[in-house]
């Protein structure tokens, strides 16, 4: 039986133009799909969206939907105008954790597509801003059926609500010469240690892990992860002087001076008279700019590891915050290293769970209690790499200065002894 199609004059205008149109895609589901359930759902979804465009308001409200055994992972959506658009009155999204690095075989994508059109709307996004596959649109029984099916072949729900969220890492070692760590492995060690905290929201608010393989930070970890792990190195960058000469030959000295040497934030580069490059590695801050410009000639060093920053987040509630350096450098080579990074995450999340106010992110908690209290809580010593400058105001009580200074010298002695 043919459905009565809603008139959609406003959103029809989003079918014009050269960029692929999501409206045309939803119309294909309405007009071409063999399943009448999907035709009706797409039709009513388009009808409600047109209603939003006409009135400039949204008409979805949240609720409580979950699969058996879990408390989160579904974004429930019930329509406020469901009487007019009954076939899409329940339109829940399942957040599903993608494979690390967002890698897929087309075979696996087809399997996911088959499952989703059986139980849902057939509309999906790779990926949401946190990093989940967003399977958009099904009713309450559909969420359980779809989850049961994909869970059997290796996929699991992500986080939603005040919990550990789905993590994200860059393409990294899989296809990038600037990778300084095994991003996929670090990310999976971290997030998969907290599956209970992903599936059963019980934290003050959300907690996100993101892993970037170098300071270009392609997954925006510093700006939006509670715990950002960024690959870096601490020995000298590698220079292939023949490639430097070839680059100068090709682009010219002026280009190299203007775009490489003078763009170095710490002025640590110098172009020699023979068109080779000198680098003051002690003052290199691993910003990546010169490696980005001359990626054939310059490469990260061999002594690789990661920097950890804690407390990045978006606007709610006190404004956007960047992460702060908490671990300036740690190696990520052995199983002990992996155990240690997971331990740092556990200490952080335990402290967050006990000390943050309701709906307060880690960064906001640190802002409220001060970095030093947080560091003491997770058992990490202070380090001058954690600050952009020392304190500027003298109004502080320092009567145990001698003890604190002794700790510094003791630590330095221990590090020297350890070699």
């Amino acid at each position: 039986m043919a459905i009565e199609k809603h008139d959609t004059p406003m959103i029809d205008q989003l079918e014009d133009g050269p960029w692929p149109s999501f409206i045309s895609g939803i119309k294909r589901m309405r007009d071409q799909h063999p399943d009448q359930r999907i035709n009706a759902m797409a039709n009513d979804l388009l009808g409600q969206l047109e209603h939003s465009y006409e009135t400039r308001k949204g008409y979805w409200k949240g609720g409580t939907v979950s699969v058996y055994g879990y408390g989160g992972g579904i974004i429930p959506r019930f329509s406020e105008v469901g009487k007019q658009f009954p076939a899409s009155k329940e339109f829940h999204t399942l957040r599903v954790q993608p494979p690390a690095g967002n890698m897929y075989s087309t075979e696996m994508l087809r399997q996911l597509a088959d499952s989703w059109e059986k139980h849902g709307s057939g509309m999906v996004t790779f990926h949401g801003q946190t990093g989940n596959i967003m399977f958009i649109g099904t009713d309450t029984p559909g969420t359980q059926h779809f989850f049961d099916e994909v869970n059997d072949y290796g996929f699991d729900l992500g986080g939603a609500g005040p919990c550990v969220r789905t993590a994200m890492c860059c393409v990294g070692a899989a296809r990038c010469e600037q990778s300084n760590c095994n991003e996929q492995s670090i990310m999976r060690h971290l997030v998969n240690n907290f599956t209970d905290d992903v599936h059963r929201p019980a934290l003050p608010y959300k907690f996100k892990f993101k892993v970037s393989g170098c300071p270009n930070d392609c997954v925006n970890a510093i700006e939006r992860a509670d715990m950002a792990v960024i690959g870096t190195w601490r020995d000298d960058m590698k220079i292939d002087q023949d490639e430097v000469k070839a680059f100068v030959e090709k682009k010219g000295r002026k280009y190299v001076i203007d775009n490489v040497v003078s763009r170095c934030p710490t002025n640590c580069m110098s172009l020699n008279d023979d068109d080779t490059l000198d680098v003051d590695n002690r003052n290199c801050v691993r910003c990546m700019h010169c490696l980005n410009v001359m990626n054939k000639a310059l490469s990260p060093g061999d002594d690789k590891g990661v920097t950890i920053l804690i407390g990045g987040k978006r606007t709610l509630k006190i404004g956007d915050l960047m992460g702060t350096v908490v671990v300036p450098f740690m190696k990520m080579d052995t199983s002990e290293d992996y155990e240690r990074i997971v331990e740092i995450a556990e200490e952080t999340i335990d402290f967050f769970a006990e000390n943050a106010l309701e709906h307060e992110r880690t960064g906001e908690m640190i802002e409220r209690i001060g970095l030093v209290n947080f560091l003491e809580g997770i058992g990490i010593e202070v380090d001058p790499n954690m600050v952009s400058s020392p304190r500027q105001v003298s109004y502080v009580r320092m009567d145990d200065w001698d003890e604190e200074a002794a700790k510094w010298f003791n630590r330095q002695g221990e590090e020297a002894a350890a070699g």
Binding site: I11, G17, P18, W19, F22, S24, G25, I26, R28, M29, L49, S52, Y53, R56, Y59, K61, V67, Y68, G69, T93, Q97, P99, A100, N102, M103, Y104, S105, T106, M108, L109, A113, G122, M123, T125, H127, Q129, I136, F147, D148, N151, D156, T166, A173, R188, T195, D196, H199, P215, N220, A221, E223, C287, M288, H289, R314, T315, K317, G319, E358, H359
Partner: protein, 357 residues
């Protein structure tokens, strides 16, 4: 007897290796350099001598299964059957035979997808759901993005910018779209209209009071019923009370506007990561194609393209030329609203005689 439920397998994040191109598996952590062979295509070379070409294409992001299967079919017929998705929802096909690159590009373009988004292009706009699915949106991100990418398609398909440009858009002031070189975000301009008859049943009032960033909300009895009231002089119209309490109606067909922010940059390259800064507001939320917002974005891109030096991102460019010149070059008005009064605001004031004339 109670119904038996299936127990979930708490497997978490799947291993990416099982779906990874074999040449990427083989050379994992052993890559040497990359080249931009043409817009939309990257070539990565490994120390082993292996090479892999990546073809990147923009999509509509919200994929129907027909589009998804089309993308799979292209990958199977013209690629090696392995793909990945980028942070900005582009699809990437990896192939080890350079001869496959052009047929793959042709197949994608013939099917209506847009090859590009690499190097110094305007990348796909990262965005969220909007009216299609979100419970608190002031606009429809997908529509804004579709309308804007129609106009920026040449910048997506070419390397014509001084450096890459990341655009983002968000449908509320929580800013899920994130930081961008240019961000197009909802900005509310009036306090919430409270449906007092619903508050007591729907909202946990202490949580709503706690959610307000400026402590402008307090419990009150209205018409004999427990409700909330807003000190409208203190209210900053941010909409933070709306998600925990839908009767605090913040979205308004007329007074919910768009604002544009520039200079957000997540990379550590050259300068430290930076947050975006307000440049334009009061822009009408004008579906279905939001022409006013697109015009301002294009205007900013034009000034950046003409004046920035090679490798300067938008924040680097403005750091060099200064904010007065930015407003002069774009013709955007500078108002009292551009002067920050949030916490830490004095750090954004000029405490020097560094002034360009």
């Amino acid at each position: 007897m109670a119904q038996q439920h299936r127990t979930p397998i708490e497997s978490g994040c799947p291993d990416g290796f099982q779906y990874m191109h074999p040449v990427m598996r083989k050379n994992y952590g052993q890559w040497k350099y990359h080249e931009h062979t043409r817009p939309g295509v990257l070539m990565h070379a490994a120390h082993s001598g292996d090479q892999v070409w990546t073809v990147k294409a923009g999509t509509q992001r919200i994929l129907d299964v027909y589009s998804l299967r089309k993308l799979c079919e292209i990958g199977e017929t013209f690629g090696d059957g392995y793909v990945r998705f980028t942070l900005r929802s582009n699809i990437e096909y990896m192939v080890t035979d350079e001869a496959k690159v052009q047929p793959l590009i042709d197949a994608l373009e013939n099917a209506g997808f847009v090859v590009g988004g690499t190097g110094n292009s305007v990348a796909m706009i990262s965005h969220t759901q909007g009216w299609l699915h979100c419970d608190i949106p002031g606009t429809d991100a997908s529509g804004v993005v579709k309308a804007m990418m129609d106009e920026l398609i040449d910048e997506f398909k070419n390397h014509n910018m001084p450096n890459r440009v990341h655009l983002t858009t968000s449908c509320c002031q929580i800013n899920c779209g994130g930081q961008g070189d240019i961000a197009i975000n909802v900005q509310h301009t009036k306090p919430p209209k409270i449906r007092h008859d619903l508050v007591a049943n729907v909202c946990e009032r202490p949580s709503v009071v706690a959610r307000c960033p400026v402590a402008a909300i307090r419990p009150a009895l209205v018409n004999g019923k427990p409700s909330l009231e807003v000190d409208e002089k203190k209210c900053i119209c941010c909409g933070a009370c709306f998600p925990p309490c839908p009767p605090m109606q913040i979205n308004d067909p007329e007074h919910t506007k768009l604002a544009i922010w520039v200079g957000g940059n997540h990379s550590n390259a050259r300068s430290k990561p930076s947050f975006q800064k307000l440049v334009a507001a009061g822009i009408p939320n004008n579906p279905p194609r939001w022409p006013e917002a697109t015009a301002i974005v294009k205007n900013i891109l034009k000034a950046y393209k003409e004046d920035a030096r090679d490798w300067e991102r938008i924040n680097d460019w403005i750091d060099r030329i200064g904010w007065p010149r930015f407003f002069e070059m774009t013709g955007l008005p500078f108002t009292k609203f551009h002067i920050d009064n949030w916490r830490g605001a004095r750090e954004r004031l000029n405490a020097s005689t560094h002034i360009r004339f």
